[in-house]
């Protein structure tokens, strides 16, 4: 079967009911996406299917074959880290770091749809991602700062275009 992950094609030979998580980690070798609970409770395995955040530990691989899969390895571009990733470093968000790929993928999906999220919107979008190190306040701060920077960048672009 064919999977498209971060724009790259992977041909995999596993049972189609295998959760996407294990295919991404073991077949595609992209280990940034983490196993945390296996029942969709913790969000460590969050990836995006056509931009929508999903729990890859519960999603059978066959449900993803016709979709664009984006993992933590796929959100930076040629010019460098995604704003969220850069802000995450500047705000020194991660502690152990194990949940952070999932956190960033959830935050990334949130900002794609909600340019300037309120505290409540952030809570709602992020409450399916557990962090045992308790980095929640820094995650929230990071999301707000990334939202501001992205808004500024787009204003500059608009200005230039105008």
């Amino acid at each position: 079967m064919i999977l498209k992950i971060n724009g790259q094609i992977f041909e995999v030979d596993v049972d189609p009911s295998t959760p996407l998580l294990w295919v991404i980690r073991e077949q595609a070798g992209l280990t940034g996406t983490k196993f945390g609970c296996g029942i969709g409770q913790c969000g460590s395995c969050t990836v995006q299917l056509d931009g929508i955040p999903i729990r890859s530990c519960l999603t059978p691989m066959q449900a993803a074959t016709d979709k664009e899969i984006t993992t933590i390895e796929g959100i930076a571009n040629d010019t460098g880290l995604h704003t969220l990733q850069r802000v995450w470093i500047e705000e020194q968000v991660p502690q152990c770091g194990y949940c952070q790929s999932g956190q960033i993928m959830s935050a990334h999906a949130l900002l794609a749809n909600t340019a300037s999220p309120t505290d409540e919107e952030i809570d709602q979008a992020m409450s399916s991602n557990i962090c045992r190190c308790g980095t929640y306040s820094r995650i929230k701060k990071g999301i707000k700062r990334a939202a501001e920077e992205l808004a500024m960048a787009s204003t500059v672009k608009t200005d230039n275009n105008g």
């Binding site: 880290l81 991660p94 557990i130 045992r132």
Partner: protein, 740 residues
């Protein structure tokens, strides 16, 4: 003094023990040579076992602690680099190899002797002693909030200062100038009057011929350049792009995967496995029977896991399969009663005579508190990759205790421990769980059955049900109050005692105290859990103090304040927390405020919590945390640890509960072992004060205070006294305050 034999070291150490300087970290002589091959690359000069200098003047600091988010891979190099006057932009870090030369004897010293002064002529002796002890104990451990306190203070700073001293000496020799005319800045040594300046690397080779001072001069706090600043952590960039490698992420050629199921009732042996259901399943390679567990090896984890789930497995019955949580509590109570009846309770603190006071006192308050078992639930489930060959074993694992893992695996496989190599990886959370080597021993035993590397991954269910638990406990109090409401006698009985030793002790001026404990054997395995005994005793003592304050009809903050005159450091921190929280200011309707204070791992922490209880719903709005760690070497990291410890402790206080039914753990995953999430996360404010006391830890000391501050706040809001955790089991109703 003559030559010391290993035996003589130990004898002398015990006789002279109880005192220590900021010790030396380098035994002058040969240890750097012993580790040269382990850590040095081409053109690198190993100065001592803690640092090397490359030809391009890059300094690499060798850190003997695991990184699990506490920032030790950054803070420890900062401590060394500062003493060395190194150019921070050219400082790198490598984690120490799992080698006995890195047995962390600075840690051993810290735990055994504390921070006491010690005559300098005995330093070498003591140093040899601790190296010996820690090697024997296989102590290359990350725990006890110890990295900065012990490794940083006793090893890193001294190593940096000693290296600087010999480099400067080498420069003075080469340039034929007096030592005191040389200056050091940014990894360069300069002689201003002759306008000469060369990088450290220029002198590195010569410097290694000089003997490093055992007790080099250390900087005074006002001379610090890096210490006390918040440098960006080395590990963070790899943790935002998915490239950080945790134990879970190891990839090896030919590697296969294993899933495992251990006996649900701890310690019962495997009797039989019916493998017929998975015979001929493609990609499934082997069923491995261990003493108390069954593992399946397959091409992928999911294959292994689904095959394992199909097996019919029979474990023995040994009597424990009938034990329930209530049985454990009943046994606890029986053993506590029996200890008192038989007069064989173990003494912890005994001053004055509580009995005499109780006889003559008018006001006596009694209460019994309880806490449940707790699992660690690190974000990364337990895992270990192992390759076993005829001659040895290699392990890839995130461990708080790599040398201990090597020793245990060597024992299990009957190998010399020199032939077990641990490649330590990032830890996806530790909290004490990754001190225990069980998963490494399992992985090694499984890999021994095959000729390829095997990655053993525990399911979350296995992780919750096969933990080493913070114990369930009962704490009974009896106190007498005088006419002013002040405590005149304090009797406290509880179960078990591990560490920190002072966890059940109180800072208040109470003349007559009897603090004692009893053992009560259960089959549930115990383990270090963030802040260990303090995780429960702070809840017990600081809740009961609150009860006494209310009995005495006094404000809980002022009540504590009035009895802290012998503990000025505590008083200062309590005042700071109260002031920053606005203690005494009016709160909205149905809100409550609670306070607590506790010292653990050398750091005093006070917290004030604000909650709202309406229609039975609890909302934790705000936590104010004041801490006195002596000195925060990395303030931003320290603040992050305070927040982290609070969220960890708050999660446990609100939700944490492991219960035993039919001898096994009932809970299995995050749906029934609930975690605090972002929408429940309170606003946390941290205030750090510098007191110039010996540095305290950061990873654990904020955890103990949160449960009592929360429970006291709930009482303030509702009049309901929480004497048993977790809070979720209580029905909370807002009503009029009991006390104005």
């Amino acid at each position: 003094m003559g030559k010391w034999t290993r035996r003589a070291f130990i004898t002398t150490g015990v006789l002279t023990g109880g005192a220590l300087v900021i010790g030396i970290a380098i035994r002058p002589g040969n240890r750097a040579n012993k580790v040269k091959d382990l850590i040095a690359g081409e053109d690198e000069t190993v100065m001592n076992i803690w640092l090397k200098i490359a030809a391009d003047n890059t300094i690499t600091v060798v850190v003997p602690h695991a990184e699990m988010g506490q920032g030790t891979h950054t803070t420890l190099p900062m401590m060394l680099a500062d003493e060395m006057d190194a150019d921070w932009s050219k400082v790198r870090m490598m984690e120490a190899p799992g080698n006995k030369e890195y047995a962390n004897y600075a840690l051993g010293k810290g735990f055994i002797l504390g921070d006491k002064e010690f005559p300098s002529f005995l330093i070498d002796t003591i140093d040899g002693l601790f190296l010996t002890i820690t090697k024997k104990m296989s102590l290359e451990m990350t725990g006890g909030s110890s990295s900065v306190r012990f490794t940083g203070m006793f090893a890193m700073r001294v190593a940096g200062a000693a290296a600087r001293a010999v480099l400067v000496q080498a420069a003075a020799d080469e340039w034929q100038v007096p030592l005191n005319e040389l200056t050091v800045k940014n990894s360069y040594i300069s002689h201003l009057s002759s306008n000469r300046s060369e990088p450290f690397a220029h002198f590195a080779a010569k410097a290694t011929d000089l003997s490093q001072p055992a007790k080099p001069r250390l900087k005074k706090p006002e001379e610090f350049i890096l210490m006390g600043t918040s440098q960006p952590r080395f590990d963070i960039p790899s943790k935002v792009d998915g490239s950080a490698i945790f134990g879970m992420d190891i990839k090896l050629p030919g590697m296969k995967y294993a899933a495992i199921k251990a006996s649900p009732v701890f310690g019962t042996k495997l009797i039989a496995v019916n493998e017929s259901s998975i015979k001929n399943l493609p990609g499934v390679h082997k069923v491995v029977k261990l003493e108390s567990a069954v593992a399946v090896i397959a091409d992928g984890y999911w294959l292994a896991k689904t095959a394992l789930d199909k097996l019919e497995i029979e474990f023995e019955e040994n009597g424990n399969e009938t034990v329930s949580q209530n049985d454990i509590y009943e046994k606890y109570k029986k053993d506590m009663d029996a200890a008192i009846a038989d007069g064989d309770e173990k003494k912890d603190v005994k001053t004055g005579s509580v009995e005499n006071v109780f006889k003559s006192s008018d006001q006596i308050v009694e209460a019994e508190y309880r806490v449940p078992y707790l699992a660690h639930a690190t974000m990364e489930p337990m895992n270990c990759t192992a390759l076993v060959t005829e001659t040895g074993c290699e392990l890839w694992v995130g461990s708080q205790n790599p040398l201990g893992f090597a020793v245990s695996v060597a024992e299990a496989l009957d190998l010399d421990s020199e032939n077990v190599i641990v490649h330590n990886q990032y830890l996806g959370g530790g909290f004490g769980r990754r001190v225990v080597e069980d998963v490494a021993v399992q992985a090694a035993r499984i890999a021994k059955e095959v000729d390829y590397p095997v990655k053993l991954i525990w399911s979350r269910e296995e992780d919750i049900r096969q933990d080493f638990y913070r114990e369930a406990n009962i704490s009974r109090f009896k106190a007498a109050l005088d006419s002013n409401g002040e405590i005149t006698a304090w009797n406290n009985q509880f179960l078990f005692k591990h560490e920190p030793e002072e966890a059940p002790h109180i800072p208040y001026n109470v003349e007559n105290q009897f603090i004692h404990y009893t053992e009560s054997l259960t089959h549930v395995p115990w383990g270090y859990w963030r802040s260990v005994d303090s995780s429960m005793h702070a809840f017990f003592t600081e809740s009961f103090i609150d009860e006494l304050a209310h009995t005495a009809k006094k404000d809980p903050y002022q009540y504590r304040r009035g009895q802290l005159s012998n503990a000025p450091r505590f008083l200062k921190i309590l005042d700071l927390a109260a002031e920053k929280a606005g203690w005494g200011k009016a709160l909205p309707e149905n809100w409550g405020r609670g306070i607590s204070i506790h010292e653990s791992f050398g750091t005093i922490v006070a917290q004030v919590v604000e909650v709202e209880v309406s229609e039975g719903n609890l909302k934790v709005h705000r936590v104010v945390c004041a801490a006195d760690p002596g000195f925060a070497f990395h303030p931003d990291g320290f603040e992050a640890q305070m927040e982290s410890g609070i969220v960890y402790g708050l999660t446990a206080a609100l939700y944490g509960e492991i219960t035993i039914e039919n001898g096994a753990v009932v809970q299995s995953n995050f749906h029934d072992y609930q975690m605090l999430r972002m929408n429940e996360n309170p606003k946390i404010e941290t205030y750090i004060i510098k007191s110039d006391n010996f540095p305290g830890g950061g990873g654990e000391p904020s955890t103990p205070c949160i449960a009592p501050a929360l429970a006291n706040a709930i009482f303030d809001a509702t009049g309901t006294r929480i004497r048993e955790l977790p809070v979720k089991n209580h029905e909370l109703k807002a009503n009029a305050r009991i006390l104005g």
